[in-house]
């Protein structure tokens, strides 16, 4: 192997340092593995930090009747039964232990009168189930995991970006990466790799996602031969900021509605009465997002094209205590005092239910040695995710991935690194510097966001999706000629040129899957096929790489055992 590269060796290499990555690292370490964590940003800045509302876990501290069965049923219903039932079961059963564990590592949740962890109501959850810390639950979680991991002895490679997974035959052998700071390259040898890179929201224009959410892990896995599943299911969170334009898309936590916030159109009508009279504002996110979108489209939107979300009927000090970040966010960024008047909100691209197809128990992908957890993995959420189920997903399946990756590392022999793969990765990464006259990556990214926002948004049609595919092909051709100015020293233009490739891959996968699914289910709404189709309810869409192109196939949803079927049939 070429010795000009800096080389690091680990039993388990984790890509991504959000909740899933850190939880996986802690577990792999506990299994005795040598663990490395690579993250694109500084430690503690991953997207988990932005999670606000809480962690869903049937602790039954507030509503005594809650148990894992109800949580399982809510999750399956929210996901329109396209979920992997085993993942939904494991998630519901294990989430309470994962929350208690966080507390034992120092996390401080809000409390009930009797001193237990307090739980709040959230959309689609039958009971008060979300363990929370005001509206900054994600920060509490990431800080707790970060400190735990660091003190247990994980090696963290901060501001380092993986651009290629290395393989030894069929199996995973390592990863090729560059340091953002100096632009130097590094090679990581690893027996197992866990992908925990989060989502893909940066391919859309209006999004609550940070710059990191460019689908890296999914694209890396896809390139390495893994299968991506359910990518047509992109969650548009119902409530993002809509005004002023500078802050468009920034998340307004569902906790506002959980704490009693109401939604009205410009005529003062609580329009959720027409969409879901039973659950009203606490209906599932897909329903509320479509409701707001429809109100706006039919002329009943607010001045800036949204709906009014109002919590000002609650005492001001209560609002400030339970929703402190929302209070400051609106006061500072939009000149709105939410204790006195309503917020203007509208849908914002927030989360992708789909991702790398994994085994429920072990989180292993179809490539030996490759694991995935959190938003980067598919299965748990089906066609639509319930609020609060993401943070618990990270903990439950982060732990499982870490455990299985460590086990795999013990039994698999040392992989061999292929120098030719590394050299190719290096060539690809450096090529944009040598294309004078090529286009700026910022322009191509901007145009991709336009395409995904307008053609692959909340409501989709055959024609729009076909147009989107044509546009994505053109964008791919332009991206192949992208030019980067400046040096390799901390160069965001260069970084974006690479991230763009990942966004194009996941955008294409999303569009192809959306085109194939001729029905409306959960977060996937087709104007030309507005109803649920039972046949489609029995299959998932999967894409896989064949040569240089993307192939789509259908796979049947696994049959559920009778005892779980019984739980779903019960109506409480």
């Amino acid at each position: 192997m070429n010795t000009k590269y800096e080389i690091h060796e680990h039993d388990v290499l984790i890509i991504g340092a959000g909740g899933a990555g850190l939880r996986a690292a802690i577990e792999a370490l506990a299994q005795g593995a040598r663990v490395g964590v690579i993250c694109k940003s500084l430690l503690g800045k991953a997207h988990t930090v932005m999670a606000e509302g809480g962690i869903a876990a049937a602790m039954s501290n507030v509503d005594k009747a809650d148990d894992w069965r109800t949580h399982f049923r809510d999750t399956m219903r929210g996901g329109k039964f396209l979920n992997n039932w085993r993942m939904a079961q494991l998630h519901a059963m294990e989430a309470p232990d994962r929350v208690r564990e966080l507390e034992q590592w120092g996390a401080l949740f809000d409390r009930t009168e009797s001193g237990e962890i307090l739980q709040r109501a959230f959309g689609g959850h039958t009971f008060k189930r979300l363990c929370h810390v005001g509206d900054r639950t994600g920060l509490e979680m990431i800080r707790t995991l970060q400190d735990r991991g660091v003190h247990q002895g994980i090696d963290v490679y901060m501001e380092c970006t993986v651009t290629r997974l290395l393989k030894d035959g069929d199996r995973i052998a390592g990863a090729f990466a560059y340091w953002r700071e100096q632009g130097r390259f590094a090679v990581f040898k690893a027996n197992s790799i866990v992908i925990a890179t989060g989502g893909i929201g940066k391919a859309w224009k209006i999004t609550s996602n940070s710059w990191e959410y460019t689908g890296d892990g999914m694209a890396l896995a896809f390139d390495a031969g893994a299968e991506l599943m359910d990518l047509e299911f992109v969650q548009f969170h119902p409530t993002g900021m809509v005004w002023p334009p500078g802050v468009q898309g920034i998340l307004v936590t569902e906790a506002v509605r959980g704490e009693g916030g109401t939604l009205c159109n410009k005529n003062g009508e609580r329009f959720m009465q027409r969409y879901d009279p039973k659950k009203m504002e606490l209906s599932t996110r897909d329903v509320v997002a479509r409701a707001i979108y429809t109100e706006v489209r039919e002329g009943r939107g607010t001045e800036h094209g949204g709906a009014f979300l109002d919590i000002s009927h609650k005492p001001a000090d209560y609002v400030k205590r339970k929703l402190p970040s929302m209070y400051h966010q609106f006061l500072e960024l939009a000149d709105v005092d939410i204790t006195k008047g309503p917020m203007e909100v509208g849908p914002t691209c927030h989360y992708v239910m789909g991702g790398i197809r994994v085994d429920a128990e072990t989180a292993q992908a179809s490539v030996p040695g490759l694991f995935a957890a959190g938003e980067a993995a598919a299965g748990l959420h089906g066609a639509n995710r319930l609020g609060g189920n993401s943070l618990s997903d990270l903990l439950v399946f982060g732990r499982r991935a870490g455990m299985a990756a460590a086990q795999h590392a013990k039994t698999a022999g040392l992989p061999a690194i292929d120098g030719a793969q590394i050299e190719q990765a290096e060539r690809e990464l450096l090529a944009p510097f040598d294309r004078p006259g090529g286009e700026s990556p910022y322009q191509i990214h901007h145009d991709l966001q336009d395409v995904m926002q307008t053609l692959v948004g909340i409501f989709r049609t055959e024609q729009d999706l076909r147009n989107a595919l044509t546009e994505i092909e053109k964008l791919k051709a332009r991206a192949a000629r992208v030019h980067v100015e400046g040096s390799r020293l901390f160069n965001p233009g260069w970084h974006l040129a690479r991230d763009l490739q990942c966004m194009l891959t996941v955008s294409e996968a999303c569009t192809r899957a959306a085109l194939a699914r001729r029905e409306s289910r959960g977060a996937h709404s087709r104007l030309d096929y507005p109803n649920l189709d039972d046949a489609w309810g029995r299959k998932n869409n999967v894409v896989v790489r064949k040569g240089d192109s993307m192939q789509l196939f259908e796979t049947p949803v696994a049959a559920m055992p009778d005892d779980l079927r019984q739980i779903l049939a019960e109506d409480k």
């Binding site: 940003s41 500084l42 430690l43 503690g44 800045k45 997207h47 930090v49 932005m50 507390e103 034992q104 590592w105 120092g106 401080l108 949740f109 809000d110 409390r111 009797s114 001193g115 237990e116 307090l118 810390v133 900054r136 994600g138 920060l139 509490e140 800080r143 400190d147 660091v150 003190h151 901060m158 700071e181 609550s208 940070s210 990191e212 005004w243 002023p244 334009p245 500078g246 802050v247 920034i250 970040s325 400051h328 966010q329 500072e332 960024l333 939009a334 700026s440 990556p441 910022y442 322009q443 901007h446 980067v484 100015e485 400046g486 020293l489 901390f490 160069n491 965001p492 233009g493 260069w494």
Partner: protein, 255 residues
């Protein structure tokens, strides 16, 4: 369309100077939006560290017109727009490039702090009032602006002897955790050098999370150190009961 001029530091450890960029204004625009506009249209290699653009991650710290701020929370319309807006990197940390500095020292300090250690046999129940006190410290988003303005670090460069306000906040969160059983006073005194802080409150002023760093974290911690190490009466008692002193030392050692 109305425009503003941003005077942005461009350069690396070797050399650098400010460059002017004209940026079209959009309602509600924040400084970070303006920097992104420069990247997209004028200087694609302008180095800026950011993540969430929502005031939650603490990545985009810089000095705007001389004031340490999160650029994602600094509205353009809060600044005087008839003169150039200067944007400089944080001064207390080594420069990498443009607005990006090397903040890795902070992560090294953090590693010295013994983690949460529940008291043996503890019951996992807490009163919200006790939790409130600690949750203030847990709000910290690690923007490191407090470290950047602390004169012990910024002007006297005592990084080797001093932990800085961020880590006093972190220690306060652990020490005041209702169920924590470890002691970190020796660490505060010897390794984090809390005695060097002369409570000028610069850190509290710049905290974007409104944490009362000086009043609620640093001063109570200083009191703990004084109580344990400098209280003349206690020192006398300890001298008489030699065993107790040894026990305290041993506990601190174990930390």
């Amino acid at each position: 369309m109305a425009e503003a001029t941003l005077r942005v530091f461009r350069g690396d450890r070797e050399s650098g100077k400010a460059a002017d960029y004209r940026v079209p204004l959009v309602p509600g625009m924040v400084v970070l939006d303006a920097l992104h506009s420069i990247q997209a249209h004028q200087a694609p290699d302008l180095a800026v560290r950011w993540n969430c653009k929502a005031g939650k991650c603490g990545s985009c710290s810089a000095e705007v017109n001389g004031k340490p701020r999160l650029t994602c929370k600094t509205r353009m319309d809060s600044l005087l727009l008839d003169q150039p807006i200067t944007i400089m990197p944080m001064k207390a940390f080594p420069l990498i490039k443009d607005l990006v500095t090397d903040v890795s020292w902070n992560y090294k300090v953090n590693r010295k702090i013994p983690p949460f250690q529940p008291r043996p046999g503890v019951e996992w129940k807490m009163d919200q009032r006790d939790v409130d006190r600690v949750q203030e410290f847990r709000k910290c988003i690690e923007c490191f602006l407090c470290q950047n303005v602390c004169h012990v670090l910024r002007d006297h460069a005592k990084q080797e002897q001093f932990g800085g306000p961020r880590f006093f906040v972190r220690v306060a969160g652990l020490e005041m955790h209702p169920l924590d059983g470890a002691s970190r006073t020796r660490l505060l005194k010897d390794e984090l050098g809390i005695g060097l802080c002369n409570i000028t409150k610069c850190c509290t002023e710049v905290c974007p999370e409104d944490i009362h760093i000086t009043d609620n974290a640093i001063i109570p911690l200083k009191e703990r150190v004084v109580d344990e190490y400098y209280d003349p009466l206690l020192m006398l008692v300890r001298k008489i009961r030699g065993a107790k002193t040894a026990a305290t030392a041993k506990r601190a050692e174990a930390d």
